[in-house]
């Protein structure tokens, strides 16, 4: 009658989630730590997209960054150092409907968890992976991390780090099935929000390398970039990170980059003395492993029993 759907009432959102629904314990990061801003943005995105807290899992490894699940009001899994990704993939494998966030660090993901990082990119399971890249081991008090610049003094290398820093962007771009690679900075909440939101909107494994300040162990390390945004290269494109003009204008140094273009993405990521932010690479068409791994998850009891009987019969003599 009157063109109304008979079950129209079902469309009404019976629950509205406020920011408070995504808040867990009080955040215990140091004052001024970049991690606070990342947490806030994640909670805002959950609120803005009205994600059910009980259908959401925040997964992490070990490190300052990996404390994030404790501060969320969702389900959480604070795992082992380096092992957030196998856990996250396992959670997703048979329950693809769950919303998965991963919080990890430069040590957690790019050092001890490096093998899993490479393979998780290949699995391309739908999850939002935030690497809190502060160029140091924070939790364990200032040891060299894979992204510590050469020559920088740490407690394990008091004369300065001896190896060239690892470039997580070029590495990720080189992995089969890569589908979403972006970089942002913790101190620009607008770009941070827009980037993480784009990552979350992507169906597949989205890796966001977040340049993150650790004022305790690397005081003023990114001060130059904060003081002079011209030192940052803002990537723009209609298919890139949508950033309002008034915010984009603050970056005098911009480059239009089509995120479908892998060759350019690699050039941008590998350029020396450059800090690009924005979407480096995006391919929405890469298949997701959970579409394979979840096959048969809803199979009924009768069918299961019949399958088991058949298996027994195969060995009957």
């Amino acid at each position: 009658m009157f063109g109304l759907k008979s079950d129209w009432s079902l469309d009404i959102k019976t629950r509205y989630f406020s920011l408070g629904d995504y808040a867990g314990g009080e955040a215990r990061w140091c004052p001024g730590c970049g991690d606070h801003g990342i947490l806030t943005v994640v909670q805002r995105i959950c609120r803005d997209k009205q994600i059910s807290p009980e259908k959401t899992v925040a997964v992490s490894g070990i490190g300052c960054s990996s404390r994030l699940p404790h501060y969320m009001g969702t389900y959480g899994f604070h795992g082992l150092h380096g092992r957030a990704l196998p856990l996250a993939c396992g959670i997703k494998s048979r329950r693809p409907e769950l919303d998965i966030w991963v919080a990890t660090g430069d040590g957690d993901c790019y050092s001890i968890g490096a093998g899993h990082w490479i393979h998780a990119v290949r699995y391309n399971m739908n999850m939002t992976v935030l690497v809190f890249d502060n160029s140091v081991y924070g939790l364990t008090k200032k040891q060299t991390s894979p992204t510590t610049p050469i020559g920088y003094k740490t407690n394990t290398h008091p004369e300065g780090a001896v190896l060239e820093a690892h470039n997580p962007l070029t590495t990720t771009l080189g992995i089969a099935n890569v589908s979403f690679v972006a970089q942002t900075v913790d101190w620009n909440p607008n770009h941070l929000y827009a980037t993480i939101k784009a990552a979350h909107d992507h169906k597949g494994f989205s890796l966001v390398n977040i340049i993150q300040r650790c004022p305790v162990f690397l005081p003023n390390f990114f001060q130059d970039y904060q003081d002079d945004p011209g030192k940052i290269l803002l990537l723009t494109h209609e298919k890139g990170i949508p950033l309002e003009d008034k915010f984009a204008r603050l970056f005098p140094n911009q480059k239009e980059h089509d995120p479908a273009n892998m060759v350019d993405a690699y050039d941008i990521a590998s350029a020396q003395n450059s800090l690009p932010i924005g979407l480096l690479y995006h391919n929405p068409a890469v298949p997701c492993y959970e579409d394979i791994s979840s096959a048969g998850k809803d199979i009924g009891m009768e069918e299961k029993l019949a399958g088991i009987e058949k298996a027994f019969d195969q060995f009957a003599i």
């Binding site: 925040a58 196998p86 993939c89 396992g90 997703k92 048979r94 093998g115 088991i308 298996a311 060995f315």
Partner: protein
Amino acid sequence: MGNPIPRKQINEHIVEIVSDSGEGAQKAGQTFGNISAKMGNGVWTVEIIPAEIKPPARSPAGASGIRIRVGSQYITNMGDAADIVVALNEQVLYSRIATHAYKKGTVILLESKWLTDPNPKIVEQYKTALQEFRDNGLIVHEIQMEKECLKYTPKPRLGKNMFVLGMICNIYDRDVKKAYHEIENTFIHKGVKVIELNQQLFQAGYDFAENNLEFHYNIPPWQTEDSKNKLIVTNGNQALGLGIMASGMDMVAMYPITPATSASHYLAEVYHTVGGFVHQAEDEIAAVGFAIGSSFAGKTACTITSGPGLALKTEFLALAVMAEIPLVVCLVQRGGPSTGLPTKVEQGDLLAALYGEPGDAPKIVIAAATIEECLHFVIMARKLAEAFRSPVILLTDANLATGVQPYPRPEAKAEWLASPIDQSNWDKDMPAYNWDEKTGLSARPIVGQVDGQYVLTGLAHTNRSKVAYDRESNQRGCEMRSRKLATLCSTLKPPKINGEAEGDLLVVGWGSTLGAIEEAISKLQAEGYRVSSIHLRFLSPLEPGLKAIFAKFTNVLTIEINYSDKADAPFITPDNRRYSQLATILRAQTLVDIDCWSNVHGQPMQPGLIYEELLSRLNQGAE
């Protein structure tokens, strides 16, 4: 068909077929085993696996084949020395002789084509070996197998195994109709021509043995017509796979490692029919992490591995204990330490399974003693894992993994399957670890349950899963997790004693040695010795009542396939002697002065060797 030749009735025989790999020896042996099981005999088959991956032809390292033990009783192990051996070349026999697989009087049916080989070196090797074998008491019959097969096929290397099958089927009076049927099933996808050719070759071997060999046997059945219809024949890894399916396990995450992998090979073929999924992870750490993640999300998960894989999984196992995540770990043991003896038998991972993790990590550890138990224990393990919110390690070994045996076909039961995940609302006031003070048990919230949100952590935590570094919280958490084991123990019965409840000697075993130990014990009991045995299935918690059982025996001895110092070795004293693994635990738990007899030869325990050892101990005691 009436058989004119006289047959000697025997109780059991051990047959081996050995060759270079790729000559179909295993197929022939399996078929012989299946026919025998169908005729109502007890059967145990075990594959002989080459020591090297690509060994040269006609080399001792290349010995490949199969051993089949057939008897008029239920057969539980591979036995001692072989009675009849069919060998397709003489060189492969050397490696079998080196492992004491044969005795004086073992009959060898040897392919003799090498005697006329164009390569004089081969002819020489053949002649030398023949002489050596005969000098050592083996009875060698030379047979021109290839020449016989050439009458039917230009490519005799491929069909010779059916000729061999025909010979042994005639020697042991196997049902020819059943053999034809098995051959048809084997080659069903290759068409009528192939089936017929193989049946011809079988018949040729059968007739050859009938007309040319002077030894023919009869091994009467032990099974009734009725029960033998409901048997299945599998190896231990296939049994694990069947158990995984029958338990309703949702997912297996694994990384390939011998001798565990074939369980996953099997599952990869059939798991989808019950909606399951095999995930081959990038390494063992990822495999167990993947399984734990899936279990956290409410799905039942399992990981299958061997010792080196277990070592990599320890940190995650500790997490699963700490955060109380149900998880089944199938641990198919091989020889260690390190990469050790990948294809060989050892029970060397008991202590690693029990105590391998950092800190206190109490978990359930059980061991299957038979191939049938491999199947049923997975079902039990899944239930225990969920009921006790705990990882469960199920130990098996290479002996069970590769041994093949008929056993009763189970019927799939709905109650074996995991129940669907609970997605009803969680009571907001109920903690994520609502520990029952007495039992330590608690229900767990599953992702998706409204108001169940908690953060699982491997850090010390309160019952609400809040990180807590205070002294009381960690003490309490450890107590609650440990209490679950005591709770489980309180539901277990003391182990069944095989024999009298008191006597001169009690043998204690665990895992795949069951058949060999009990066979040796029966023989000694029949000879009047006061010896009994028990076999443990639960290693953590230990089965109750052990101390009381031990008290009734003058001596208690564990028999295990892992390392122990010999009591009389240089510098060894009772204080510094390293005991075998179960003995170490039993001594600590019961304060009984338990002795051990163990080795790391990489081989299954043989009933004959156990018999000899026990006999000498019992007679010593009598002096």
